[in-house]
C-alpha cells in the first residue's frame, strides 16, 4: 500500500479537528471531554500516518520528491499553481517534528487549560495552527507554502491574544501579526522575482533549473534570497523583526511551546533549507544570513541574562537558538541547521512546558492564598526542587542539552553548527568572527539557563509560607509529555551522531538528496582530525564553564522577592529593558506611521480631499450649477422672448451661410 499518496490525510485530520472543535466552541463550549479527545486525538492520528509514511520512505527512499497533486489552484495563463504536497526527505522530517511534538503539547494542554472557559476555542485554534504548519512544510510550491506561512501567522495572532479581554494580550497578538506581515512582503517580492526569472513557482522546477536560469553570485539571485530572508527574519524572529516574540509570551504557555519554540518560528529555517540551491548560489546572502543569525544569537543571549520572568528568559533563548540555526544554514550546513531545529524543538518545548508546570503550580498557590504576586517572576520562586522533583530533573536534562553538554542532544547539533562556521572561515574570514560570536553566545546560553534553574528550583524558597503547601508536581497528563520530551532531549543526538564518535551521521545522509543541488555551488569541507577534536573540546569547555559560572553567581547572592527587589541600574537596566529596541522602533517607525495616517491620510486625504473636494465638492458644484441655471427661469415673458430670438438668429445664421 502506497501511503505516500494519502499524505493529505495528515493535513485533513487536524482540519477535521478544527471544524469539530470550532463547532463545539460555538454551540457546546462545555463539552470538554469531547474536545480533549478530538483535539489531541487527531494530532496523534496524524503523527501515526506521518510515521507510517516515514517508514515507507525509509524502506525505499525516493529518487525524486513525490508530488501528491490535489487540485489545480491557480491556472492563470502562464502561471500554473496546483495545490500539491511534496513528500521528500526534508518535508517528512518536518512533518514528524510538527505532529510529534505537537501531539505531546496537545496532551499537555488538556491538563494545563482544563479550567479555562475557552477550552474548545483553544483546541480549535491549536488544530488549525497544525493544519497551516503542515501545509507550510508539505507545500510543493512557493504559493502553497505561503498559504501555510500566512496561516500560521494568523493562528499565532489568535493564540497569543487568546485571553483578549486583557488589552496587553491583544496588543501582543497584533504586534506579532504586523511584524510578520512586514516580513511577508519580502517573501512576496521574492516570489515575484522568482516568477519573473523562472516562469514557475514549484520547488522541484526551481531547484532543477536554478543553475541555468540564474547566474551564481548575480544580482537577481542575491535579491531573491535576501527578500526570502526578510520573510524569515519576520517569521523566525531574527534581527530586525524579532521584538514580537518576547511579547508573544502573553499567550498560554503550551502555545509558546508549540508555536514559538518548536514549529512556527522554525519555518524560516525550513525555507532556507528548502531553497538551499538559491542560497548556495548567492554567497553574499549566505553571509548576511549567517551574520544576522550569529548577531541575533549573541544579542538575544545578552538580554536573557537579566530577565526575571521565566518565560521571557526562554523567549530570548529561543530567539538566540534560532540565530544558531540561521548561522548553520547560512554557512551551508543545511542539514546541521535542520538537526538543531529538531533537537531544539525537543528541549525548548520541554523547557516551556516545564515552566508551564511551574507557573501552573505557582498560580494555584497564589490563588489559594488570594495573593496578587506575579506567578511568573523567578524572584518569587526558589527551592522548588523539593516540591516539584520530576519537573526539576526533566528541566535539568533540557538545560544540559541547551548548554551543549554531551551526550545530550543539543551538544551534537550546536557543535556541528560551530564547526561549520569555523570551516567556512577558510573561504571568507568573516565567518571566523561569526564563530567567535557563536562561542560567546554558547557561554551566555549556559549561563542564563543555569541562572534560571538556580533561581527557580534551587536555594531557599521565596514564595511564602502559606503558598508552599500548595506547590506540587503537575498531574500526569501534563508530566507525561514532559517525560517523553526529556527522553528525546537526552538521546536526540542519536539522530545525527558524527563519525567522530562512531556514528553514521544518519540525518545528514538522509537529507543529502535534498541538499545535493547546493553542493554544486558551494562545497563545505568540515574540519577533521585534530581541528575537529579541538573544536569539540572547546565547545564542551564553554558549556561547562557557563553552567558553573551561572550556578555560582546566582546561588552566591541573596535574591530578593519581586515585591521587595530594588530597581535595576546601569548595564543591568539596559539589558532588562532589552536595549530599548522597542522604544526605538516606536519612535522611528510607529509614531511616524501613525502621524502619517492621522494627519496626512485621515485629515488631509480622507476628510479634505475625499470628503471635502470630491463628495461635498460634487454636491456644491451641482448646487452652484443648478442655482445658476435656475436664474434663466425668470417667469418673465420678455426674457423668454429674448432667448427665443437669439436662438432663432443663430439658426438663421447656420442656414444662410
Amino acid at each position: 500500500m502506497n501511503l505516500t499518496h494519502v499524505v493529505w490525510l495528515v493535513v485533513a485530520l487536524p482540519l477535521a479537528g478544527f471544524l469539530v472543535n470550532g463547532g463545539l466552541a460555538l454551540w457546546r463550549p462545555r463539552a470538554k471531554s469531547a474536545v480533549s479527545v478530538v483535539g489531541a486525538g487527531v494530532l496523534l492520528a496524524a503523527f501515526a500516518v506521518a510515521a507510517a509514511i516515514f517508514l515507507e520512505l525509509l524502506a525505499q527512499p525516493p529518487a525524486a520528491p513525490v508530488i501528491v497533486r490535489l487540485w489545480s489552484w491557480l491556472p492563470v495563463d502562464r502561471l500554473q499553481v496546483d495545490l500539491a504536497f511534496q513528500v521528500d526527505q526534508l518535508s517528512i522530517v518536518m512533518v514528524l517534528v510538527v505532529t510529534g511534538v505537537g501531539s505531546l503539547i496537545h496532551l499537555f494542554s488538556v491538563g494545563y487549560m482544563r479550567e479555562d472557559p475557552g477550552y474548545a476555542r483553544y483546541f480549535a485554534y491549536l488544530n488549525l495552527f497544525v493544519v497551516f504548519m503542515l501545509v507550510l512544510v508539505l507545500g510543493s510550491s512557493f504559493p502553497v507554502m505561503f498559504i501555510g506561512w500566512e496561516g500560521v501567522g494568523l493562528c499565532s495572532y489568535l493564540l497569543i491574544g487568546f485571553w483578549f479581554s486583557d488589552k496587553v494580550n491583544a496588543d501582543a497578538g497584533k504586534k506579532a501579526f504586523i511584524m510578520n506581515r512586514i516580513g511577508d512582503c519580502g517573501f512576496l517580492v521574492a516570489m515575484f522575482f522568482l516568477w519573473r526569472a523562472f516562469g514557475t513557482l514549484d520547488f522541484t522546477a526551481v531547484t532543477a533549473r536554478a543553475g541555468e536560469v540564474l547566474t551564481p553570485g548575480g544580482a537577481i539571485v542575491t535579491a531573491i534570497t535576501l527578500f526570502l530572508f526578510l520573510g524569515c527574519t519576520g517569521k523566525s524572529a531574527q534581527i530586525p523583526l524579532y521584538t514580537w516574540l518576547p511579547d508573544a509570551m502573553a499567550g498560554p504557555t503550551p502555545v509558546s511551546a508549540l508555536i514559538h519554540a518548536a514549529t512556527m518560528v522554525t519555518a524560516g529555517v525550513y525555507l532556507v533549507a528548502r531553497t538551499n540551491v538559491l542560497f548556495a548560489m548567492a554567497p553574499v546572502s549566505s553571509l548576511v544570513v549567517a551574520g544576522i543569525g550569529a548577531l541575533t544569537a549573541l544579542f538575544a543571549a545578552t538580554i536573557g541574562l537579566r530577565q526575571y520572568d521565566i518565560k521571557k528568559v526562554l523567549a530570548y533563548s529561543t530567539v538566540s537558538q534560532l540565530g544558531y540555526m540561521f548561522l548553520g544554514v547560512g554557512t551551508g550546513a543545511y542539514a546541521s541547521g535542520i538537526f538543531h531545529l529538531a533537537t531544539h524543538s525537543f528541549f525548548k518545548a520541554l523547557l516551556f512546558l516545564g515552566s508551564g508546570s511551574v507557573i501552573h503550580a505557582m498560580h494555584q498557590a497564589y490563588h489559594a492564598t488570594h495573593s496578587h504576586e506575579d506567578a511568573q517572576d523567578m524572584r518569587n520562586m526558589g527551592g522548588l526542587k523539593q516540591y516539584m522533583p520530576v519537573t526539576f530533573w526533566l528541566m535539568l536534562i533540557a538545560t544540559l542539552a541547551i548548554a551543549g553538554i554531551p551526550p545530550f542532544a543539543g551538544f551534537f547539533s550546536k557543535d556541528e553548527i560551530l564547526a561549520a562556521a569555523f570551516a567556512r572561515g577558510a573561504d571568507s574570514p568573516l565567518y571566523y568572527l561569526y564563530y567567535a560570536m557563536g562561542v560567546v553566545a554558547a557561554l551566555l546560553t549556559a549561563f542564563y539557563m543555569a541562572r534560571l534553574m538556580a533561581m527557580t528550583f534551587l536555594g531557599p524558597n521565596r514564595t511564602g509560607e502559606q503558598e508552599r503547601a500548595h506547590l506540587h508536581d503537575a498531574p500526569w497528563i501534563m508530566t507525561g509529555p514532559l517525560v517523553v520530551l526529556g527522553v528525546l532531549s537526552a538521546v536526540g543526538g542519536a539522530l545525527n551522531l558524527p563519525r567522530l564518535v562512531g556514528g553514521h551521521a544518519a540525518l545528514e545522509r538522509w537529507l543529502e538528496p535534498v541538499m545535493e543541488p547546493a553542493r554544486q555551488f558551494s562545497h563545505l569541507i568540515m574540519p577533521e582530525g585534530s581541528t575537529e577534536y579541538l573544536l569539540v573540546g572547546a565547545a564542551v569547555a564553554i558549556g561547562v564553564l557557563g553552567l558553573w559560572l551561572g550556578f555560582r553567581s546566582t546561588l552566591g547572592q541573596r535574591i530578593p522577592t519581586a515585591h521587595d527587589a530594588p530597581p535595576d541600574t546601569g548595564l543591568a537596566l539596559v539589558l532588562n529593558r532589552k536595549y530599548y529596541v522597542d522604544e526605538l522602533y516606536d519612535a522611528l517607525v510607529v509614531r511616524p506611521v501613525e502621524w502619517l495616517s492621522r494627519v496626512v491620510l485621515w485629515r488631509g486625504v480622507d476628510q479634505g480631499v475625499v470628503d471635502g473636494a470630491a463628495v461635498n465638492g460634487a454636491a456644491v458644484v451641482s448646487r452652484l450649477l443648478g442655482g445658476s441655471l435656475r436664474l434663466l427661469q425668470t417667469g418673465q415673458v420678455g426674457v423668454y422672448v429674448v432667448l427665443f430670438l437669439v436662438g432663432a438668429i443663430w439658426i438663421l445664421r447656420a442656414v444662410i451661410r
Binding site: G638, L645, I649, L652, I656
Partner: protein
C-alpha cells in the same frame, strides 16, 4: 408710376409699424396697425396677388383687428401710462434686432437674377430662362382662369389635407377661446 406707389405704401407700412410699437395708447396702436395692414394689402395688389390682398383686408383688418379692438375696449385699457420697458431692455433690443437685421441683410445679395446667373455658370444647367418655371406657369394659369381659379386647384388638390386640418384647427380655436374667456364654466 407703380414703383412710386410701391415705395409710398412701403413707407406707409413702416411708418405704421413704428407708430404702432411706440404709441402709448393701445387703441392708437391698433389703428396704426390697421394702417400698416392696409398698406400691405395695396402692396399685395401691386405684386399681382389680388386675392391675397383682398383676404388681407377682410380677415386681418376686418376680423382680427376688430377682435383686438373689442378686447381693448372690454378691458378698458385706454389709459396712457407708458409701458415701454427700461433701458436694459432697450439695449438688449438694439443688440438683438441689430443682429437680426444683419442676418437678414445677408439675404440682399440673393436676388433671383444673381442666383440664376450663379446657377447658369455651373456646368450642370445651361439656360437661365428655364429656371423658376413654376412662377411662369402660375402666371399663365392666373391669366387663363383668373386669380381665384388659379388658387383653387392647388388648394383643393395638392394641399387638401392641410386645408382640412386647418378647419379642425379653427374649430379647436373657437372652442378654446370660448372656454378660456368664460366667467364660469
Amino acid at each position: 408710376m407703380i414703383q412710386f406707389l410701391f415705395y409710398l405704401f412701403a413707407f406707409a407700412a413702416v411708418l405704421g409699424a413704428v407708430m404702432c410699437i411706440l404709441s402709448r395708447n393701445a387703441v392708437v396702436s391698433a389703428i396704426w396697425l390697421m394702417g400698416t395692414m392696409f398698406s400691405l394689402a395695396v402692396i399685395f395688389f401691386l405684386l399681382g396677388a389680388e386675392l391675397i390682398g383682398i383676404l388681407q383686408i377682410l380677415v386681418y383688418v376686418g376680423a382680427i383687428l376688430v377682435v383686438f379692438l373689442f378686447v381693448i375696449m372690454l378691458l378698458n385699457l385706454t389709459h396712457a401710462a407708458s409701458d415701454l420697458r427700461g433701458p436694459v431692455s432697450l439695449g438688449t433690443t438694439i443688440v438683438v434686432i441689430g443682429l437680426l437685421l444683419l442676418e437678414l441683410a445677408a439675404l440682399w445679395r440673393y436676388t433671383p437674377r444673381r442666383l440664376a446667373a450663379d446657377i447658369a455658370q455651373s456646368p450642370m444647367l445651361a439656360d437661365p430662362s428655364t429656371l423658376f418655371a413654376a412662377g411662369e406657369l402660375s402666371r399663365q394659369d392666373a391669366a387663363a382662369r383668373g386669380v381665384v381659379g388659379a388658387l383653387a386647384a392647388p388648394l383643393f388638390q395638392t394641399y387638401l389635407v392641410p386645408f382640412e386640418i386647418t378647419s379642425i384647427l379653427l374649430l379647436a380655436a373657437i372652442v378654446g377661446a370660448v372656454v378660456l374667456a368664460k366667467r364660469r364654466i
